[in-house]
């Protein structure tokens, strides 16, 4: 991994930047794994990013790109919580269309990722957090290698049944805030059943960041993705 910054490869900026999702950077090094986090407003994407940073920062070299809708709130939250040094967190502005910046026109996000790799790299992992959007928002495969979709029990326990590209196709579905289920009348078993129906073999994690386990199951999934990426 890349925690040791005395990397023998020197930073070379002679070649032009990569064009698309090339696995190899212009300087010949393999780029960082990119994982996208999408989901509706308030479902706990930023809290999950913060928890992942805390869980992984001692074992991995990582950075975060946020896509706020109209502010720098999410980046500011991560900075305030000091989950990473400020130079490892970048905010992308999305012109009122957060789904466009992660799916239809990904160039600003690709540049943010590449700049982080140039400036604070080498990196093992870049987390790209989408702006809070609707159930149809998914990341382009040109931007991320894997994506997780975060919903929460308080948003309604019928969301897994309703489906949509995020719920149905994300590599990992995270059902967040399970500690609130008794207070909002959400049936976790029903959510699990519906999710299974929509997603077949794709995994689902139920988490409460307030519990002792916290983000550990999602962190384990990220570690596995990274192991696969490194071995590929």
């Amino acid at each position: 991994m890349h925690l040791d910054h005395s990397d023998p490869h020197s930073h070379s900026h002679d070649g032009p930047a990569a064009v698309s999702a090339d696995a190899v950077r212009p300087d010949g090094r393999r780029r960082a794994l990119r994982i996208g986090l999408g989901g509706p407003v308030g479902s706990g994407k930023t809290a999950t990013v913060a928890a992942l940073c805390r869980a992984l920062r001692d074992e991995l070299s990582l950075a975060v790109v946020t896509n706020d809708i109209y502010t720098r709130e999410d980046a500011a939250f991560l900075l305030r919580e000091a989950v990473l040094p400020p130079e490892r967190i970048t905010a992308v502005e999305t012109g009122a269309c957060p789904h466009t910046a992660i799916r239809d026109d990904i160039s600003a996000n690709l540049e943010a990722v590449e700049d982080l790799e140039d400036e604070v790299g080498p990196l093992d992992l870049v987390l790209v957090e989408s702006g809070g959007d609707n159930l149809t928002a998914t990341f382009s495969r040109g931007l991320v290698d894997a994506q997780l979709f975060v919903i929460d029990v308080a948003g309604g326990d019928d969301i897994p049944r309703k489906g949509g590209p995020g719920v149905t196709t994300a590599d990992l579905l995270v059902v967040n805030k399970t500690d609130l289920a008794p207070y909002v009348g959400s049936d976790l078993q029903r959510m699990a059943r519906d999710a299974k129906e929509q997603r077949a073999e794709l995994p689902v994690v139920f988490q409460s960041l307030r519990s002792e386990e916290g983000v550990s199951e999602v962190a384990a999934w990220v570690r596995q993705r990274l192991a696969d990426w490194t071995a590929a």
């Binding site: 900026h13 002679d14 070649g15 032009p16 930047a17 064009v19 698309s20 809708i69 109209y70 502010t71 720098r72 502005e93 999305t94 012109g95 009122a96 269309c97 466009t100 910046a101 239809d104 026109d105 990904i106 160039s107 600003a108 690709l110 540049e111």
Partner: protein, 224 residues
């Protein structure tokens, strides 16, 4: 040249980052200068004949084969607002990525290598047009149209303006777009003999001032 290629480059969905920019419209809306479709028409007309003409001429010259680094300097000299220079280079970098993926060429690679953080967007746009086999007038058309289509779609989002009204504004500007593209192409064709000083340098001080103010806002929908 292929007319269909021009449509691909001019398409508002061409993935080169334009959707996150309002072309100064967000600042103008906040200042109360755009409140309805009539205001939008006047804003677009002003932008078209000032920064739009300059961008169109730069793009035309790049498409003609003028040294893009000379044009990049000329663009800097014609962009007094630091915020707008930054935005233009950001958008140029995004256009470069899209262009190299779409119409790869040694000329694009060479400019990307010396301007890894981006050359001015109209210069990259012109070079992209050249790589796509388009001519200087084509590039001028795309740049001129972007100068008004960006603000129009931004104002639909900012003011919840009726999208049919906004598109009507663009349609009624068509004859002026023709004229600006022709003037820009003619200016670009003088550059090989007269140098980049032959390019127009018209400016819109309110766009520059608005851009500087906008860049300092803490909360905004658009990057510029």
């Amino acid at each position: 040249m292929s007319r269909a290629t021009l449509l691909v480059l001019a398409d508002g969905r061409f993935p080169a980052g334009g959707h996150a920019h309002s072309g100064g419209a967000e600042a103008a809306v906040a200042a109360g200068r755009i409140k309805d479709a009539a205001d939008l028409a006047e804003f677009c007309r002003g932008r078209l004949h000032t920064s739009g003409l300059v961008a169109a001429a730069l793009a035309a010259a790049a498409a003609l084969g003028v040294d893009p680094l000379l044009l990049d300097e000329a663009a800097d000299a014609r962009t007094p607002s630091a915020a707008l220079r930054t935005a233009a280079r950001k958008l140029g970098r995004q256009m470069m990525r899209a262009a190299r993926a779409t119409w790869p060429s040694a000329e694009l690679d060479a400019l990307a290598a010396v301007r890894p953080k981006g050359a001015h967007q109209p210069v990259v746009l012109g070079l992209a047009a050249r790589s796509a086999g388009l001519g200087p007038e084509d590039a001028a058309y795309v740049a001129a149209y972007e100068a008004v289509s960006g603000p129009a779609s931004a104002v639909v989002r900012l003011l919840s303006l009726d999208p049919f009204d906004a598109t009507g504004v663009l349609a009624r500007l068509a004859p002026e777009l023709d004229r600006v593209a022709a003037d820009a192409g003619a200016a670009a064709r003088r550059v090989p003999d007269e140098g980049v000083d032959a390019l127009p340098a018209s400016s819109a001080p309110l766009l520059d001032i608005g851009a500087e103010a906008h860049a300092a806002w803490a909360v905004r929908l658009f990057a510029s």
